[in-house]
Structure formats: C-alpha cells, structure tokens
Amino acid sequence: MKALYDTAESLKIALAAIKANKSRGVLTTLGIVIGIMAVVTTMTAANGLGNTFRESISALGSDVLYVSRRPWVISGNFFEFRNRKNVELKEAEKLDRYLANAVAINPTTNTNKNVKYRSSTLEAITIIGTTDKHMMVSASVPESGRFLTAFDVQFKRPVCVIGSEIKERLFEHVDPVNKRMKIGRTSYRVIGVMEKQGSAGFFGGPNFDRQIFVPITAFMKSFGGHNRDFSIAVKAPPNIALADFEYEVTGEMRKIRKLRPTEGDDFSINQMNQLVGAYNKVMGVIVIIGLVITGISLFVGGIGVMNIMFVSVTERTREIGIRKAIGARKRAILSQFLFESSAICLIGGGLGLLLAFGVAALISKFLMPASVSLPIVVVAMCVSVLTGVLSGFIPALKASKLNPIDALRYE
C-alpha cells in the first residue's frame, strides 16, 4: 500500500517536472518517437502482409498436394531439377486410378500468351489448362458466369474463365461474359470471371488475378500438347494427415515412374505450407531489419533521454538536496527520476504510436489492409517505458547518491 502511494507520488512529481520543461522533453523524445513508430509500423506491416499473403494463397488449398517436376521453393542447387523429366498427363490419369482415396485429382499445365479483346492487348498472361476438378481443389470461385464443366473439357470447347485483373484491364466497362477474346491466335469465349484473390505477387509469388483458365483439352489443341510439363493437384481425404497422404502419393508416383529403392524421387510434391515457409523466411528478414532500425532509433533516443536526465539532475541538484534534507530516501529520489524518464519516453512512445496509426492508415489506403492491433500497442508502450527506465537509470542513480549537504550548497 505504501509502495502504491510512493509510486503515485513519484509519478506526480515527475509529471510536474516534465510540464515545467515541455519543449525540451518533447525534442528529446524524437528518437523514441521514431523508434516506436518504426516498431509499430514494422509489426503492423508484417501483420498486414501476412494476412494478405495467407488470403491470396488460400486458393491453393491447405489440404492439396501438387505433384510437379520442380519444388516451388528451391533452396540449394537449381540444376539438380533441370534434368528431371516432365510430369505427364498420363501420369495424372494413373494417379487417379491408383489413389482411390483422393478426393480429387486435377492435372494442370500452363503457358504465357498475349491476350486480346477488340483493340486492347495484355501481354504474357498465364494461361492455365485445367479441368472442372479445379473447383474441388481450390477455394476460389467465379464471381460471375460459371467455371469450366466436365462437358467443356470432354469436348475441347474454346471457353475460358478469366481472373479479376484481366476483366478490369481488358474489358474495363464491358461485362466480359459471353464475349469472344483471343488467347494467342485462338478465339475463346469468356464464360466466367473469378473472384478477386488479392495478390501475393509482390513476394514473387503467383498472381492469381492475372490468370485465365481454359479446358486442358482445348489448351493442348491450341498451344500444343507435346512435351508439356504438367502439375497434378491431389486433394487429400479429410480423415488423413497431410504428411501421411504425401507419403502415399510419393509411393504411387515412384511406382508409376518405376523408381528403384536406391533412386531418389525425380519429382516434387508441393503444398501451400512450403510457400508459407518461404514467406516466413522473407518476412523474418524484413522484421529483423525493422527491429534493427527500431533498436537503433531507440538507442539514440535513449541516449538523448539519458543526456537530458543528466542535465535535469544537475539543474535540480539543489532541489534534490532539499528533498533529501527533509527526509527523502535514496529510493524516493531514484524513482522520481526513473518515473520522469519513463514518462518522457512514454510520451514519445505515444506520439510515435499516433504517427504509426497515420502510417498504417496510409498503407491501408494504398497498399494492403493493415491495422495497428492491441498487442502491438501494448508492446510499444512497454518498450517505451523500458527505454525510459534503462536510459534514466544512471542519472537517477547519480541523483539518489548525492550527499544532501553538497547538493544543498550547489550553485
């Protein structure tokens, strides 16, 4: 209880002292302001990026394995994968036969083509040959029109489903459904538009809004089926762990390719989590850079606060002498100055936080959804106070150790 009074009193005294030296205190906090702004902005941006990223790759499906020639995320020797043979369409058919428990198996292949509607052209658009099963392995759905049907695939119909960015950039104000457009040199009829996915493009990840889906059969007719590399999406049954299912798929693929036990896999099994892992690595680096900037500004700010606290202690040597003469213990003086430095830093932190809210608003407006969350606010405040305590400690200790009579005599 007494400690509580002491705390309240120290705080009151500290605030009075800060009020008396407003402009100086505010200037001092600049480093803290920038530091806290950096930490809050970094963490908020990281959160925002994370959400955007997860949302945009959710189209891949968390329970879907992708059998491909190469891993999505290549670490190490790139050339190791170059001589691998393509994944073929007939391998997808075999997998379909052997993997009785898979919910869906969907082969896809892709190429880049220029696409054209009337007089406007978009260059190097990802054209994906796929089947009606796509709807079962992916979370994305058409926003208008419909997706490809088994019928479209069976009869090689020249129809396509376009991503939202294609719609915006190629069709602008026209409803694309039932319009004819050119993909490469072939004419396709638009039957649907996919919902907007949001882009993971700025991590070098796929941009799902810049894609066009066509029946895999029509794809091969238009763009050639010889020597094509496929990717096979295999959706796991709900009652089995993805790792176990991966083991099963690997086994079947090895059988299909007739690999001997001593031979390594000559194909890769990918899944959404690998992208998440790669993303986390990149993000980790960004966050570390942000934290280093934060650390540096807080350090500089802390030194500034320490300096101002030394000045404050020197200026108020007589006051300290008076306080000691009337019975202030060492701890009372120590906590008075610690509170003062913490309060200065907390004010700086508050300003930094306000600025960070502004930056977050700008990011939301122009880049991606980002909002400062409560835990981040709490962390920022704790960091401010900690900086205050650390940078105020030595000056406060000096103040508390002053000899009362020397302090009183100080001119």
Partner: protein, 236 residues
C-alpha cells in the same frame, strides 16, 4: 528529545590544506532547550548545525540523538531521522520553486509515507500555524521573504519533529519580519520543541535561553542566560 555530540571534528581538505571547521566540539542539549549558536563568520556554526541535523557526517566523534547512535546509521536511516525527528529551517529558505506552498509543506509527509487524506489535514494545520492559509496555492516566487521563511517553518514542523534547527532563519529578513519569525519559534519552544538556532544578531540570540559561542571551530563559551531562569519560572 535530547542530543549530544562528543569530541566532534570536521575537517575539509582544500587541495593539500586542511580546514578544520570543527575541532573537538562536545555539546549536550536537553529536551525543550532553546539554544542560540553565535560566533564570527567561518567559526563553524553552520557545520555544527548540519552535523546536528544529520545533513552532514563528522570526520570523527560521536553523536547521540535521543539515545540513538547517529554515527552508526546508514543514509536511509539518516533520511528517516531527518524526516521524523528534525525540522530544518535555512537562511535561504530552500523551498522547491515549482511547487506551491501546500505542496512544499506537504513534502516531508510524502516522504514519511503519510496517507494523502491525513497529509492534507496536517499540512493545512501547519500552514495555519504560520498564518499563511490564504497563500496556500502560491508559488514561493509569489511570496515575500518573511512569508517564504514561514513556509519553511511550516514545512519544518509539519511532521511534528521534536527538534527544530534554524541556521540564521532571520539572516535574509528585516528586523520586524525577523521578530515575527522568532515569535513563531518561541511558540514552538513553548509547546515543547527543542530549538537550536544560529544567529549573528544579539537581539535574536536573546530569544534563546542558552548561548553557545564558537570560535575557529571550538566552543568558546556556553552560557545559560537569565532569561532561561525566567522561562523556567513561567515568566516570558
């Protein structure tokens, strides 16, 4: 509360030169005595007061305060003694400039850990005793010298210490204001406090019942005045 210093020395080192501010001083002061310390400038009066007020520690010698050995105490214990047992009044007032009268007077209670509600009552009654109730929320700079010294006295007595030490309390005041301050000290003596004051002025010293004269850091004379006998008989 009685205080006693025995064979106290205080030596300052100025470069290689020793300044002996107090030399082998032994003084014993009983409870409720009214003592004036006099002597020429530089004779060690302030040094002795600071030792008595536990603001300064002697180079050697003993100090017993109400049966406690002060020379054995650590900094925090000394702070507590200053807070609880002693009220100090300085020539230069030594008020905290930012704080108003009330907060200045309240401060010893804050460090004494008194509850806020009780604190307010005690501080207000101390301010009333020195007649400054209507100046409660003034800053020290908004007060006259005499008023500032009364604030300092209110602060010295707020914690109800038994000893009031005053180092030239009237040194910065004109004689009328000085007499007003002395009247307050006289009252404090009457209600049982031990009063020790340093002064250069004979008229001020006459308020006391015992006069100790210092010279070159030594006690030159220590006399009990006639007044003391009168006071003991209830005449004032």
């Amino acid at each position: 509360m009685a205080l006693e210093i025995r064979n106290v020395n205080k030596t300052y080192m100025m470069g290689t030169e020793e300044v002996r501010a107090l030399q082998d001083v032994s003084v014993s002061i009983k409870e409720n005595e009214y003592v004036a310390i006099m002597g020429p400038s530089g004779s060690g009066k302030s040094t002795m007061m600071n030792v008595l007020g536990c603001l300064d520690t002697p180079t050697s010698g003993e100090y017993h305060l109400g049966g406690q050995d002060v020379s054995q105490m650590n900094d925090d214990q000394l702070a507590d003694v200053r807070n609880q047992q002693i009220g100090f009044v300085f020539q230069t007032f030594n008020l905290i400039p930012r704080a108003n009268v009330f907060h200045n007077v309240e401060l010893p209670l804050v460090y004494g850990g008194v509850r806020p509600s009780e604190r307010e009552k005690m501080a207000e009654s101390a301010i009333e005793k020195v007649g400054l109730t209507d100046r409660k929320s003034h800053k020290p700079t908004e007060l006259s010298g005499g008023q500032r010294q009364r604030v300092a006295i209110a602060r010295a007595l707020v914690n109800k210490p038994s000893i009031i030490l005053a180092d030239e309390p009237t040194g910065n005041l004109d004689s009328t204001t000085g007499e007003e301050i002395m009247a307050i000290l006289d009252d404090l003596h009457k209600v049982g406090n031990t009063i020790i004051l340093v002064t250069h002025e004979k008229s001020i010293a006459e308020h006391a019942h015992r006069i100790i004269r210092l010279k070159d850091g030594r006690v030159e004379s220590d006399i009990t005045t006639a007044r003391a006998n009168g006071a003991a008989n209830g005449v004032n």
